[in-house]
Symmetry: C3
Subunit: 138 residues, 3 copies
Amino acid sequence: MIYGNTISLQTKGFSDILDITRKVQEIINESNCQKGIVTITAIGSTASITTIEFEPALVQDMKDQLEKFASRNMHSHHSQTWGDDNGFSHLRASFMGPGTTLPFSNGRLVLGTWQQIVLIDHDNTPRNRQVYVQVIGE
Amino acid sequence: MIYGNTISLQTKGFSDILDITRKVQEIINESNCQKGIVTITAIGSTASITTIEFEPALVQDMKDQLEKFASRNMHSHHSQTWGDDNGFSHLRASFMGPGTTLPFSNGRLVLGTWQQIVLIDHDNTPRNRQVYVQVIGE
Amino acid sequence: MIYGNTISLQTKGFSDILDITRKVQEIINESNCQKGIVTITAIGSTASITTIEFEPALVQDMKDQLEKFASRNMHSHHSQTWGDDNGFSHLRASFMGPGTTLPFSNGRLVLGTWQQIVLIDHDNTPRNRQVYVQVIGE
């Protein structure tokens, strides 16, 4: 069966990283499925979903790495077109991808002990974000 | 139920970026499913699928970013082995990944307003590309 | 129907790249499904799944590219926190993502001729790795 629900989050932008593991697990619980997959998607073109060991030092490393990859101060054609200085946000998001699909078994996400699911909001302003979670299972 | 179909596209290579959103939606329509997920995969090891705001300035920014990441002029061991100068194409493709999985609901892809699904063909020559679209839904 | 199984692998770490295509196909065979998708996930926060042309020269290029992206000698806050020098491993893994989802049809993975599925273990030590393979098909 298929069950979908939305997670709403307030972010700070600039690749703000939020742990959404518990909320994804809750949606799997709501589905009453014991095994399957869950597709987790950030709606919009300036955010990503991945997994990380969610601890403050590594969260800072990830933000530093994204800054090195595409700096918030970079020149972009996109910024010139729209007067919206978030070209770097789009590049980070399209490179990392908008979502990820993960398995669950015995009703639980199959993850490592130090592996959390995160939303990364790359935009250049605080935003209210929607993450769509689609469960396919039985 | 499960429904698959193929999109065929002519590309220019060198990370040519093509909007395939409408074609993916058409395959969802063909499946007659109202909710589910769609797995979109570029067949071959030198192309990727992601989402982006598909407008010309940002498309150019993305191509510039990929050039910065792995330049078409880079030295690669792969190129020395095969006499085929597309090491950069493989690195871009493997890093971004060959595909993405996205949700749909009420028969429509769940995407942001400025978020399109794109094929990026990283190869170093024009190609006829196949994108496999697998719908899982009900 | 849904069928899951685990692949166990011994790796060398430092972005060691292992071809798991045959093992993924075997799990699809075990499922007795003819069409569907397969979600392949590296359990843990320092490994990735992607596709690549699995030949030695390109495997070396990929390792060189990952070293350029986030060097094993980089300074990381994470390393300072835990005394565990694998900040680079986490950054590589979170950027590439922990897994990928691919289609199959007529009982066979839909892949290009020179496209193999690989586990990349980014950790800074040899490890025994588990890859969870979830088949959704019919």
